[in-house]
């Protein structure tokens, strides 16, 4: 565990790193170093440059200026392969595994074990089994990766890194799609990595986690390294202040709104996975959906919104029975949905920020099928300003934005549509504290205006702070309902697990 080098020089050092994208100075003369056997947290607001810095370390982006040293030696990281050979391994914000392969194939892709000219499947499955055990992933190595949950896929990524004998493991928002329990498992693994003398770089927007797991915190703001905190200095409020450069409180609170008529009621909804789903949400209300990942919360919303097929069940909107067979029907009845996976379901990555924001409201922005481009630009501008979306212009392609800013674009798109009933599936995933507060405020404001809001979240403090009522799901069924007064992390978890 102890670093044996006498002068205790850091294992890996990045010096004077600068990176410029068209219109954006993403990194400005950044110094960053890591030591073996330590967890260093890299924090900052959306678009601060965290992912960019890590992508440079991983050989995905080329740096404009700066040097990288490993054990004091200047190294040249040109591409992902050279980073891998130097023992640097990244677990990305976006999952990158190949869905139609099985687990063992995925772990050994590109370096398959061989027996003569044949692939030695048995040996691969044997070793994969051992690796899965190390990350506490309890599935058969022949399972197709597409069948795993996001959390399990993340664990698989860690297993892959372990099999590559990585010295430095970078985790870019690994917990953003994990539940509490799964996060605990991941932290157990990180602990073990430390004991194996691996350096872990950990990126997250969740302060409790950072305080809990890190030995050191490095803070980026607007592409500059603004400071470092040693273990004993790590404290939530202090990190936040350094990140945003101003005071901000991290509490969720829904303001009181007048809760009136039932806006949406779902009766006896069944699909091949969901059983007997019954719930309603009123105007002015925020209804929280809690449960473990895989409990079926997103599936409920997908069925209600007309994305997935229903086997049976009725939907009433403002007291009237309606048929929702497709998303077109859903929008017609004033529903909006911020989906769970922004890249697959939320955004057209190759389109401009502006065009993504307006995509669900084109009818409103047009006369006789012709888009009023001035109105469209103004709409986009309004949302870019009010959500502080960090982009050089509204013409920027969404794929060039940071993860959190992409999420803001998805939310803007559905806000722009002005729904009566708004469903948000993990709306603050990957969003920094400031913006998170912004989104909570917005939800609160919408409820005040009489919008019925449904929010799925795996973050219990968020659920408890924002919801008037909480529906708890487990394995495709609704286990029960808790009012805000009675809500606590313990009783929600108890319901969600049993």
């Amino acid at each position: 565990m102890e670093n044996t080098t006498p002068n205790k020089a850091p294992y890996l050092e990045m010096k004077g790193i600068t990176k410029r994208f068209p219109g954006v100075l993403a990194l400005d003369d950044v110094d960053f170093s890591v030591e073996l056997g330590k967890v260093i947290a890299l924090v900052g607001e959306n678009g601060a440059g965290k992912s960019t810095l890590m992508k440079i370390l991983a050989g995905v982006y080329e740096k404009d200026q700066g040097e990288i040293f490993i054990e004091g030696n200047l190294v040249d990281i040109q591409d992902p392969l050279s980073a891998r050979n130097l023992g640097v391994r990244v677990i990305y914000q976006e999952l990158m595994d190949i869905g139609n392969m099985d687990i063992a194939e995925n772990i050994f892709i590109g370096r398959e074990k061989r027996k003569g000219i044949f692939v030695d499947k048995n040996a691969m499955h044997e070793e994969a089994k051992g690796l899965l055990k190390r990350v506490a992933l309890n599935v058969d190595t022949r399972t197709q990766v597409a069948k795993l949950s996001i959390a399990q896929r993340q664990m698989l990524e860690v297993a892959k890194a372990l099999s590559l004998d990585a010295k430095v493991i970078i985790m870019d928002e690994p917990t953003s799609s994990l539940t509490e329990t799964e996060t605990k498992v991941l932290f157990g693994i990180i602990q073990r990595l430390k004991e194996d003398n691996v350096a872990v770089i950990f990126i997250s927007h969740r302060m409790e986690e950072i305080v809990h797991i890190s030995d050191e915190v490095a803070v980026l703001r607007d592409g500059k390294m603004v400071g470092k905190l040693a273990k004993e200095e790590i404290e939530e409020q202090r990190i936040i202040n350094m990140m945003v450069g101003r005071e901000i409180s991290d509490i969720f609170a829904k303001e009181d709104a007048e809760i009136t008529d039932i806006a949406l009621e779902v009766k006896d909804l069944n699909t091949d996975f969901l059983k007997d789903i019954n719930f309603h949400v009123r105007k002015g209300e925020v209804l929280g959906f809690a449960g473990l990942v895989g409990a079926g919360r997103s599936e409920v919303m997908r069925a209600v919104f007309g994305i997935d097929k229903k086997e049976s069940g009725q939907i009433y909107i403002h007291g009237e029975k309606v048929e929702i067979k497709s998303t077109v029907d859903a929008l017609k009845h004033g529903m909006g949905l911020v989906p769970e996976n922004r890249k697959e379901e939320g955004l057209v990555l190759g389109m401009a920020v502006k065009e993504n924001i307006s995509l669900a409201s084109l009818k409103k922005l047009s006369q006789f099928n012709f888009i009023n481009k001035k109105q469209e630009a103004k709409l986009a501008d309004d949302y870019i300003k009010s959500f502080q979306i960090r982009t050089p212009s509204q013409e920027q392609l969404v794929q060039n934005l940071s993860g959190g800013n992409q999420q803001k674009v998805v939310i803007s798109k559905w806000m722009a549509m002005e729904p009566d009933i708004l469903i948000l599936d993990e709306p603050t995933r990957g969003i920094d504290v400031g913006a998170k507060k912004e989104i909570h405020l917005l939800m609160s404001r919408l409820a005040k205006q009489g919008v019925a809001v449904i929010m799925i979240s795996s973050e219990l403090p968020e659920i408890i702070g924002m919801s008037d009522r909480i529906v708890v799901m487990h394995e495709g069924r609704i286990k029960g309902e808790i009012t805000q007064e009675n809500a606590s992390q313990e009783n929600i978890m108890k319901m969600a697990i049993s």
Binding site: E345, L349, G350, A360, L362
Partner: protein
């Protein structure tokens, strides 16, 4: 004040900047270099007649290319358009010759015949959920076969001379097909850039699932894209029939490859979501100048396809390289 924040630039220099940045600019430079090279080495290339004849020839590629570009932008592909091109030409001529219809209704009949095949393609993709490649490959065969069945393999002759104006005539000294190309280009550039439907075609090709979740009827968008594609292929086929003066059942064989090549050279991505009308016209122009050059330089016809094949491969490779470097 808002002008700046909106990011819109005004003035001539800004317009130039935007043009240089746009994806079509590289293709334009290639076209320019090719033309300059030809201008230097070949005397006959320099005549205005030659330039007009090149433009007349590629205008049908451009019109068809604009059609198929919509399908490609929407994330699909249409291999049937060469056959639909031939079929529409044959039907229009048969309207005049066999049914004795007037010129204009016959043209409409030909267009309707083309569009019908597009609708058929669209239904196969949307309802039967066939991969576009397979569906339109089937249509390629069916439409061509219908050309032969209806004509028994003989060209449809005896069209009225007024019909010939579409392919052979001139308006203010410029061949009619070029005017047709310009009109089609303007209409569809406006359609793709300024209408809801156009925007949805791009969104669909960029991310089908996100587009569906945005409450857009993606099936309708697909049907429309295939229909418009075949409509324009049919229009090009009718222009060609007029140029030839007969309805050739063999017209447009292999045409799909040239049209798709023009679109791809013009910067569209076969993955969908990308492509422009300007790019497609420039792509068609490159193909046109190239074919003309090969003839003027007396390259043996056996070699011509080989060279064109390489040009397509080089153009697409260059585009891929540019994209992967941008990441």
């Amino acid at each position: 004040m808002t002008d700046k924040t909106i990011g819109k630039q005004n003035g001539f220099t800004a317009a130039v900047k935007r043009a240089v940045k746009s994806s079509s600019f590289n293709i334009f430079i290639v076209l320019l270099l090719m033309s300059i090279a030809m201008y230097i080495v070949s005397k006959p290339f320099r005549s205005i007649d030659n330039v007009l004849s090149i433009a007349r020839n590629f205008s049908t590629y451009a019109i068809t290319g604009i059609g198929v570009s919509m399908v490609i932008i929407a994330g699909g592909i249409d291999l049937s358009l060469g056959s639909v091109f031939g079929f529409a030409g044959v039907i229009a001529c048969m309207g005049m010759v066999n049914l004795g219809w007037a010129v204009f209704p016959s043209i409409l009949l030909g267009l309707a015949a083309g569009a019908a095949f597009g609708l058929f393609n669209g239904m196969l993709v949307v309802r039967a959920k066939l991969p576009p490649f397979i569906a339109t490959l089937g249509t390629l065969s069916i439409a061509r076969s219908l050309c032969y069945i209806l004509t028994e393999g003989y060209p449809v002759t005896g069209v009225p001379t007024t019909f010939l104006f579409l392919g052979q005539g001139y308006i203010t000294g410029i061949p009619t097909p070029i005017w047709m190309m310009i009109i089609v280009a303007i209409i569809f550039a406006v359609f793709l850039n300024n209408t809801i439907t156009g925007r949805r075609i791009y969104a669909l090709g960029g991310n089908e699932e996100a587009t569906r979740i945005s409450g857009i009827n993606i099936n309708r968008v697909k049907l429309l894209a295939y229909t418009l594609c075949s409509l324009l292929a049919g229009f090009a086929g009718i222009i060609t029939a007029s140029k030839l003066g007969v309805g050739q059942p063999t017209a447009g064989q292999g045409f799909e490859l040239d049209a798709i090549a023009a679109v791809v050279i013009g910067g569209a991505s076969l993955d969908g979501g990308e492509g422009t009308v300007t790019g497609t016209i420039l792509g068609a122009a490159i193909m046109g100048v190239l074919r003309n050059a090969l003839v003027l330089l007396s390259i043996k016809s056996h070699w011509q396809s080989l060279i064109i094949g390489f040009v397509i491969i080089i153009a697409v490779t260059a585009d891929q390289l540019k994209k992967s470097r941008g990441k």
